[in-house]
C-alpha cells in the first residue's frame, strides 16, 4: 500500500475541498506536513484513519467543518468527505468516506447515522469496479488492528519499551505478522470440529450393516423358497398330467365310462368352487387389512362423545360464526330487519354471542374432525358387515367343497372297486396321485405364504436400507468434514508456533540493528532482545538490562526500532504515517532518525511542528523529501489551508 492522494472536504478546520499528493518516489519517499500546534496536523492524520477505517476521530470533536455548518441555513444538509487514493499490488484504490448532517435551529448539526464508505478499484488495464466488501478488502490490504502500528502518534509510541508492555508487544507481533488471523483460524476450526464430533456421535450407529446382513439373508431365503416353489409347481404339473392321462384312459374304458363322467363333473365343480374359494380368501384378506378401523371403533366413539359433550357445554362451535355476529354489529340491523343502537339490549346480547362465537377456521376444523370421525365409524360398521358376509360365504363354499369331494370320493371308491381290473388299478393309481397332489398343493400354499412374507420383509428392508444409506452418507460427509476441520486446526497450530518463533527471532535481530543505527549512545547499548515472553529488552555494555534507565526519547527510539523491525519482517507493503515523531527527542536522536527513517519504510508521511524538524535533522531528511506541505491556520476564519512547498 502506497498513499497517492488525499482529498479533504469540510473535514474539521479544512473547509471546502483541499487536495494533496503524497510522494511515491522510491528515493524521495518522504512527504512532510509542517504545522504549528493547532494547525491541523492531528486532524489531517485522523482524516486518513477515518477514511480508511472509520476510526481515529475519537477526541477530535465534531468532524464536519464548523465553517461549512455556519454557511448553510437551518434544515440544510452539510457533507463532509475524505477520499484517499492508494496503490496496492499494482492496482489503484480510491477509498471514500462521507458523512452527512442537517443544521439544527441551535446551530448544531444532527449527523445522519448512515456513513457511506466506498472502495473503488482500478486495474492496470484501466478497468474500474466497486469493491463489494470494502471493509474485508481493507483488512486484507492493511488490517484495522494493524494500522495503529503504521499510522501512529510518535509521542505515544514509547509504550512498547515500558517494562509492563510484554502483552502489548506480543499483541503487536501477533497482529502485524498475521499470527492473530492464524490463531483465530485455528481456534474457530477447532470449535467447528467439536460441533461436528457431536453431530457424528449422534449419527454413527452401524445400523446399515445390520440391515444389509438381514437383507442378504432374506434374499437367500427368497431364492430358496422360489426354488422350492418351482419344484412343487413342476411336481404338481407332472402329477396333474398323470391324472389327466389316467382320466383319459378311464373315459375310454366302457366299463367305467359313466362313473368317469360323474367323476369329471365333480372335478369341474371342485375347480370352480376352489376358484371361488381363492377369490373369497383374497377378498377377506383385503377387508382384514382395513381391520384397524374396527379395532379403533371404541376410540372413535369416545372421541365423538368428547366433541359432542364440549359442543353441549359451549366450549366448541356454537354454530354461530364470528363473522356473522360481527356483520350484525357493524350494520346494526337485526336478522329480523329491526335496526338497533349501541345502547340497546340487542347490541349487548350480540357482544355476548361474539364472545361465544369462534373463528371460522377453528369451527371448520372442528366440523371436519366431527365429519371424519363419523365417516370412520360408518366405514367400520360397513366393514364389519362385509367381513361377516364374506366369512359366511367362505363357510358355504367350504361346505360345498366338502360335499363335492365326498361325492367324488364315492365315485372314486366305486371305480376302485370295479370288476374291471385295469379300471380298478387306474383308479387306485389316480387316488394315489390325488393324495400326492393334495400334499404338494398344501406344501405349495405354505411355500407361497412364506415367499409372500419374505418378500414383504425384503420390501421393508429396502426402505430401511435407503433411509440408513442416506444417514450413512451424511455420517460419511460429517466424518470427512470433521477430519478436515481437526487436521486444519492442528496443522495451523503446528505451523503457527514455528512461524511465530522464527519471526520473533527475525524481529529481535532487526530491532537490534535499527536501534543501533538510531540511538546516539550506540556503544553503550550492547544488545536489544525480544524475549520468548515478548519482553523488549535493551542490554547495556555491562550485560545488564538498561530498560529501567532509558530516557523517554530512548524509549521512543526503541519502540520505533521495534515497529520498523516488525514492518520489515512482515514485508507488509505499507507506509509509515507518523504524527509528531520527533516531539520528545533531543537533537542527536532527531538527526539520527531523520537520516535513517526513510530507509525503514517504502513510504514515509510525517506530520511535524516547525520546532521538531529543523537544522541538521531537516538537512538529513531533505534529500529524501519528495513532497512537502505547510498547514496554515487562519485565525480570522478558523480554517486551515494547505500550501505546497516546492521541493
Amino acid at each position: 500500500m502506497k498513499l497517492e492522494r488525499v482529498l479533504l472536504y469540510n473535514f474539521r478546520q479544512y473547509f471546502g475541498e483541499q487536495k494533496v499528493r503524497l510522494s511515491q518516489d522510491e528515493q524521495r519517499n518522504v512527504t512532510v506536513f509542517h504545522g504549528v500546534n493547532g494547525a491541523g496536523k492531528t486532524s489531517f492524520f485522523a482524516a486518513i484513519n477515518w477514511c480508511l477505517y472509520g476510526e481515529g476521530v475519537e477526541g477530535i470533536g465534531q468532524i464536519i467543518s464548523k465553517e461549512a455548518v455556519r454557511r448553510v441555513e437551518v434544515g440544510e444538509e452539510v457533507i463532509t468527505k475524505v477520499v484517499v487514493t492508494f496503490i496496492h499490488e499494482g492496482q489503484r484504490y480510491v477509498a471514500s468516506r462521507q458523512l452527512k448532517g442537517v443544521k439544527q435551529p441551535d446551530g448544531s448539526i444532527q449527523e445522519r447515522p448512515d456513513i457511506e464508505f466506498i472502495l473503488m478499484r482500478t486495474s492496470p488495464s484501466g478497468a474500474t469496479s466497486r469493491v463489494a466488501n470494502p471493509i474485508g478488502m481493507m483488512n486484507s490490504i492493511l488490517p484495522a488492528n494493524v494500522r495503529t502500528y503504521f499510522f501512529f502518534d510518535g509521542e505515544k509510541i514509547d509504550n512498547f519499551a515500558r517494562p509492563e508492555a510484554a502483552e502489548e508487544v506480543r499483541d503487536a507481533v501477533r497482529r502485524v505478522l498475521n499470527l492473530e488471523v492464524l490463531d483465530r483460524a485455528k481456534q474457530h476450526l477447532a470449535s467447528v470440529a467439536k460441533e461436528l464430533r457431536s453431530d457424528l456421535r449422534s449419527l454413527a450407529s452401524g445400523e446399515l450393516k445390520k440391515l444389509v446382513d438381514q437383507d442378504v439373508q432374506a434374499r437367500q431365503r427368497e431364492a430358496d423358497l422360489k426354488k422350492e416353489q418351482d419344484n412343487l409347481r413342476r411336481e404338481i404339473a407332472a402329477i396333474e398330467r398323470h391324472i389327466d392321462e389316467i382320466n383319459q384312459k378311464l373315459r375310454d374304458l366302457e366299463a367305467v365310462q359313466a362313473l368317469q363322467r360323474q367323476y369329471d363333473l365333480y372335478s369341474e365343480q371342485l375347480r370352480d368352487r376352489e376358484g371361488d374359494q381363492k377369490g373369497l380368501i383374497l377378498r377377506i384378506r383385503d377387508l382384514a387389512s382395513q381391520g384397524y378401523i374396527i379395532l379403533i371403533s371404541n376410540a372413535l366413539a369416545k372421541a365423538q362423545a368428547i366433541l359432542d359433550e364440549k359442543r353441549q357445554r359451549g366450549e366448541i362451535p356454537s354454530n354461530i360464526r364470528q363473522q356473522f355476529v360481527r356483520d350484525l354489529l357493524d350494520c346494526k340491523i337485526c336478522i329480523c330487519g329491526r335496526p338497533f343502537s349501541e345502547n340497546d339490549d340487542a347490541y349487548s346480547h350480540l357482544l355476548q354471542l361474539l364472545k361465544r362465537a369462534v373463528p371460522s377456521a377453528l369451527e371448520d376444523d372442528v366440523l371436519t374432525t366431527s365429519g371424519a370421525l363419523s365417516s370412520l365409524r360408518d366405514r367400520g360398521q360397513q366393514l364389519r358387515q362385509e367381513l361377516n358376509t364374506a366369512m359366511a360365504e367362505k363357510v358355504r363354499i367350504e361346505d360345498q367343497l366338502n360335499r363335492t369331494y365326498a361325492a367324488r370320493d364315492d365315485i372314486e371308491q366305486q371305480m376302485k372297486g370295479s370288476q374291471h381290473g385295469e379300471a380298478s388299478a387306474l383308479a387306485q393309481r389316480r387316488d394315489d396321485y390325488q393324495t400326492d397332489l393334495t400334499k404338494n398343493r398344501t406344501e405349495l400354499v405354505r411355500v407361497e405364504m412364506q415367499l409372500e412374507e419374505v418378500r414383504k420383509q425384503i420390501t421393508e428392508l429396502e426402505k430401511q436400507i435407503t433411509l440408513a444409506r442416506k444417514s450413512e452418507r451424511r455420517e460419511q460427509l460429517v466424518g470427512r468434514k470433521l477430519d478436515l476441520a481437526q487436521r486444519s486446526s492442528d496443522f495451523i497450530a503446528q505451523v503457527l508456533e514455528r512461524f511465530a518463533e522464527e519471526k520473533r527471532q527475525q524481529i529481535e535481530a532487526r530491532s537490534r540493528s535499527i536501534f543501533h543505527a538510531l540511538a546516539w549512545k550506540g556503544e553503550h547499548f550492547s544488545d536489544v532482545r525480544l524475549t520468548p515472553a515478548y519482553q523488549l529488552e535493551v542490554i547495556d555494555r555491562y550485560g545488564q538490562s538498561a530498560r529501567p534507565e532509558l530516557s523517554a526519547g530512548e524509549r521512543q527510539v526503541l519502540s520505533l526500532s521495534f515497529i520498523a523491525a516488525m514492518a520489515t519482517v512482515a514485508e507488509r507493503e505499507a507506509p509509515l504515517v507518523m504524527d509528531t515523531p520527533f516531539g520528545r527527542l533531543s537533537s542527536a536522536h532527531r538527526e539520527s532518525i531523520a537520516a535513517h527513517i526513510p530507509d525503514l519504510a517504502s513510504q514515509l508521511v510525517l506530520f511535524v511542528t516547525d520546532e521538531e524538524l529543523r537544522d541538521q535533522a531537516l538537512a538529513n531528511l531533505r534529500p529524501r523529501i519528495g513532497a512537502e506541505y505547510v498547514l496554515r491556520f487562519d485565525s480570522n476564519t478558523s480554517c486551515t489551508t494547505i500550501d505546497e512547498v516546492e521541493v
Partner: protein, 64 residues
C-alpha cells in the same frame, strides 16, 4: 522476499489439497473479519468444509 500473505500461504504448501483449500479459505475469512471481536464464523467455516468434503468425495467417486 515474498510478502506476508505469500509467506503464510507457503507455510501450508506441504499439506494435501483438501486441507490447503480449507485453510486458505478460512484464513481469508478471518483476515477479512479481523476487525470484528466475535465474527460469525460457524456457518461460513461449515460451508467451506462442506464444499471441500463434497468435492473431494465426488472426485474419489469419479476416480473409482
Amino acid at each position: 522476499m515474498p510478502n506476508l500473505q505469500q509467506q503464510i500461504l507457503a507455510l501450508f504448501a506441504e499439506c494435501d489439497d483438501d486441507l490447503r483449500a480449507v485453510i486458505v479459505d478460512v484464513i481469508r475469512f478471518e483476515q477479512e473479519n479481523i476487525h470484528l471481536r466475535e465474527p460469525r464464523y460457524k456457518t461460513l467455516i461449515m460451508e467451506i468444509l462442506d464444499r471441500v468434503a463434497r468435492q473431494s468425495s465426488e472426485e474419489e467417486t469419479h476416480e473409482a
